[in-house]
Symmetry: C5
Subunit: 90 residues, 5 copies
């Protein structure tokens, strides 16, 4: 998985029907200091995230293992909202 920051939303009226009702968030991968390390991508919100929040994202078939997601054309999702990152011991 990757750490990312939620930086916006996308509206696409004409889209794959399996995406109906999903929230399409613009996310950008960050390192543990919150610095951007990859360009923007689009992830479906699975946990009710908001713009400006640091989140956990998963990609690939991992985002379609739950029954409700199996038939959906999704390759990236926000699957967690970060409370804290602990690098003390490193």
């Amino acid at each position: 998985m990757i750490l990312a920051k939620v930086i916006g939303t996308v509206v696409a009226t004409r889209k794959d029907e399996t995406l109906e009702g999903t929230k399409l968030m613009i996310v950008r991968r960050v390192d543990t200091e919150g610095k951007y390390i990859e360009p923007e991508a689009v992830a479906v919100d699975y946990v009710g995230c908001g713009i400006g929040e640091f989140v956990l994202c998963a990609t690939g078939s991992s985002v379609r293992v739950e029954e409700s997601k199996k038939g959906k054309t999704i390759d990236m999702a926000v699957i967690g909202i970060i409370d804290s990152v602990d690098k003390a011991g490193a």
Copy 2:
């Protein structure tokens, strides 16, 4: 998923039979400002997009979850046409 711009089409008469009848679009990944950030790729059009449009693309097995797509040799598809991108809060 990624944001991309549709910049052309590809014709390949001799191709995998499962691609018969599909529209092969040349797309190029963009950031939210519309700037190109990756080289061209080829995606099958799932939503009736046109050259010059900004679109949403998915990759990998996610583009073969629908019954009609299961047996097709496709690893990238145009799955939405972008109306708007909102980064106001970021």
Copy 3:
């Protein structure tokens, strides 16, 4: 999918048995101008391509959706031979 140029072949007598009888082509990803944009990779030929030809390649599980390919240890294949690329409208 990606655009690529076929630049050679690979011979590997000792290989995974599921690759027996396949033609292993060396391909290199190109942009729509034919310029190389990634290093060489190896793809199984699905359509009878030849050295020097511009082709369409797919990667990942998409190259194993057809019955005859399901049990094969293949992650990249040549799935089409390019006739033309049209970027007129872009």
Copy 4:
């Protein structure tokens, strides 16, 4: 698979329910000299690793082949703790 160093942990109270009870480790890919070669990622700990350890990580659907993992939204895991790397003959 890749070699990586465990450099921290992530806490995310609000997350995909299938991640309940998992330990989310921050890992960073390294080369055989232990030098960082990619930014941080997040992997679920499958083997009881600790911060500062060099580990083996797998990605993609490979981390969900075991029965207990099949329904989990995981795309990267720590699957081994490195004892030694032998490059003598190279």
Copy 5:
């Protein structure tokens, strides 16, 4: 698939049980001239390769299609030993 050179081995006593009995090789992707083009990765040996040999590697779910490999936490494997590369016509 990719061309790679075998440059060492990894020992990990504490590892995912499905990796028991496998040989973990350190490989490094090369171009057709044998020049390194990516950092080291770890691949399970499927064909009895040795250090210093040029090999063919596959990644992702392709390395788990054979019955004996289905339940294994493997995302990269050495699947062939290169005899020759022919770029004459390119």
